[in-house]
């Protein structure tokens, strides 16, 4: 009933929610913007003064910024690559009928329920520890020198840990997509003479494209802000080898007590995230249209 009257009352009814959400978003955003133009150091309280773009200048010219930018991109792309390819593969396997299917599916989804700090600690201490970790034992069993993952390949290790957390999500979404594939299409292509690999390429993969798009969009949003995994494993190091933008902002504002600089970093991060979002929607968002 879209009468004028009902529309007006609908607006009034939802306005509290809209105002709340707007405030929720706008107040922190404007405060961040405001702080980013201040010289604001927690070690010198009461000395805040307006400094214009100085914070931005320092943040953007900091060599750590470019390292962090590269690391962020590598982290996001690396995890996307592993989870999408691994997710397609796992979904393909889980879609086959086999004994104990229900339990295996629950096991596959389990990592998603482990909180990031915990899973990163488990990986750090139980698997990647160069002395006591399972991988170290495995290396020693084969007579090899144990590999100190977090020191020698910090970013790759973090990509591995984060991928492990997100693989279940990708698998789950892709599995449901596989299950919605019309079996008659597969049979038709089989009769049309397509061997399995071509059926996968020409029929299954295009069918999955929409689900893959959803996985990429949602994961990108979360992967841009990976933090806990870095904090509990490498602390961004060695050097800046595993520092991403989120972690750099944290270091700036809470380790160096420079709220102004951190806020400037935050604004830069918001702008970059929006560029990525626009870019993604342009590139793959059309897959979401019916």
């Amino acid at each position: 009933m879209a009468t004028k009257h009902s529309r007006a009352s609908a607006r009034i009814m939802i306005s509290p929610a809209v105002i709340l959400l707007l405030g929720w978003m706008l107040i922190p955003l404007s405060m961040t913007l405001y702080f980013s133009f201040l010289r604001y150091n927690l070690l010198m309280p009461g000395m805040e003064e307006f400094t214009g773009l100085t914070n931005y200048k320092y943040f953007l010219t900091d060599p750590a910024f470019f390292a962090a930018l590269t690391n962020t991109i590598l982290l996001v792309c690396g995890v996307l690559l592993v989870t999408v390819i691994g997710g397609v593969f796992l979904a393909l396997l889980l879609d086959q009928p086999f004994f104990g299917q229900g339990i295996v599916r629950i096991l596959v989804i389990a990592p998603f329920f482990v909180m990031p700090t915990v899973s990163a600690l488990v990986w750090k201490n139980m698997f990647m520890n160069p002395v006591n970790g399972l991988f170290a034992h495995l290396f020693k069993f084969f007579g090899l020198e144990p590999f100190d993952f977090l020191a020698q390949a910090p970013l790759a290790s973090i990509i591995g840990i984060v991928s492990w957390q997100w693989l279940p999500f990708a698998t789950l979404i892709l599995l449901t997509a596989f299950q919605s594939l019309d079996q008659e299409q597969l049979e038709a292509s089989e009769m049309d003479g397509a061997p399995w690999i071509k059926r996968f390429w020409f029929i299954m993969l295009p069918h999955l494209s929409r689900a893959i798009t959803v996985v990429i969009l949602i994961q990108t949003i979360f992967l841009l802000s990976v933090f806990a995994e870095i904090l509990v494993t490498t602390n961004g190091g060695p050097g800046t080898a595993s520092t991403n933008l989120t972690y750099l902002i944290y270091m700036q504002s809470l380790l160096q007590f420079d709220v102004g600089g951190g806020s400037a970093g935050g604004v830069v991060a918001i702008i970059l995230a929006n560029i990525v979002a626009i870019f993604l929607m342009r590139m793959i968002g059309k897959n979401l249209d019916a």
Binding site: D182, E184, Q185, E187, A188, S189, E190, M191, D192, G193, A194, K198, F202, I203, P206, H207, S209, A290
Partner: protein, 334 residues
């Protein structure tokens, strides 16, 4: 060439035998229709021929060659599915080209065949659309086009018209029959609709619970159904089947008389009944008549307009030359 022979072919899903051992020969160039009620195993039988299901026993020969273990793509058969099974992300042209592309056919030959098929099926204007942008009938034609370009030995159709509306169904029925006359390729067609079977088939195979009840031309099945099931299944409206004292009079367990073989009179006849609901089709009128002592109402056909109304008394006389008699096993008594 497209001669398909089924030799003691059977199929079981787990413990459930859906198709008990069955023999059937489909001659080259024939239009064969599998007809039977829903769930009787028509699709399963078709899929066995196509190779989409493995047989549990017996042998399938195509053109005299044992094809029981041959993968579906190598059997030289093309199938049109009930859901059309078009590839939604490919244009009509790509859909039709797909089997040729898989076979590695040269591009110009592909194009030639696509053009020819599109022209024959009225699809020329739609070649660059996606299946989602087509109507049901057009999708159906794309599915047929995809089958034609392979130039198969035989076409397999699984209820291809069941997703279309009634008017379109009649049109497509004619188009498929035309196609068969033009290509003279073997066609195996599955339907649960006996009207489709009667109008299209050279040979009808009536199935029930996986068993073949009768094989024959439409008129053979109409004139001399082999058993009660076929008698009741073929013909529209259904044949009237009577048991009890009326059947005993003709020394049979069941007698059958088609609605068109009962004469109507307002003053005298073998059976006296009361007119119930009548269905006017213009050319014909069907009356449902309740006769004292009969379990079910009889359906009777009268040509054109007849001035009989609900509740009127009517006298019916069956044409004894067209009376079908069946024994206790339900088999026809010659």
């Amino acid at each position: 060439m497209g001669r398909i022979t089924l030799d003691k072919v059977s199929k079981a899903f787990g413990d459930v035998e859906v198709i008990p051992p069955l023999d059937l020969t489909i001659e080259d160039g024939e239009f064969v229709v599998f007809v039977g009620p829903s769930g009787c195993g028509k699709s399963t039988l078709l899929r066995l021929i196509a190779g989409l299901e493995d047989v549990s026993g017996g042998e399938i020969r195509i053109n005299g060659q044992d094809a029981t273990q041959t993968p579906p793509a190598k059997r030289g058969l093309a199938m049109v599915f009930q859901s059309y099974a078009l590839y939604p992300h490919m244009s009509v042209r790509k859909n039709i080209a797909f089997p040729m592309r898989m076979a590695g056919m040269p591009k110009d030959e592909q194009d030639r065949r696509i053009e020819a098929a599109a022209k024959a099926l009225n699809l020329t204007d739609y070649l660059d659309r996606r299946p989602g942008q087509l109507s049901g009938g057009q999708r159906q034609r794309v599915a047929i086009g995809r089958a034609i370009v392979r130039e198969p030995d035989a076409f397999l159709f699984d209820e291809p018209l069941s997703n279309l509306d009634a008017a379109l169904r009649v049109g497509m029925r004619l188009e498929i029959s035309e196609l068969h006359k033009r290509l003279t390729t073997t066609m195996v067609y599955v339907t649960h609709d006996q009207v489709e079977a009667m109008t299209m088939a050279d040979k009808i195979v009536v199935l029930q619970a996986g068993r073949i009840e009768q094989v024959g031309s439409p008129m053979e099945l109409y004139r001399s159904p082999r058993n009660v099931f076929v008698a009741g299944f073929i013909g529209s409206p259904k044949m009237n089947l009577l048991t009890g004292p009326e059947a005993d009079k003709h020394s049979a367990t069941t007698i059958g008389i088609r609605p068109e073989h009962i004469a109507i009179s307002s003053d005298a006849g073998a059976w006296k009944g009361t007119v119930g609901v009548s269905e006017h089709l213009g050319s014909d009128t069907f009356f449902h008549v309740t006769v004292e002592g009969f379990h079910d109402p009889l359906t009777v056909r009268a040509s054109g307009e007849v001035a009989l109304y609900y509740g009127d008394t009517i006298y019916l006389t069956p044409d004894l030359a067209h009376l079908h008699r069946f024994d206790a096993q339900g088999l026809r008594i010659a």
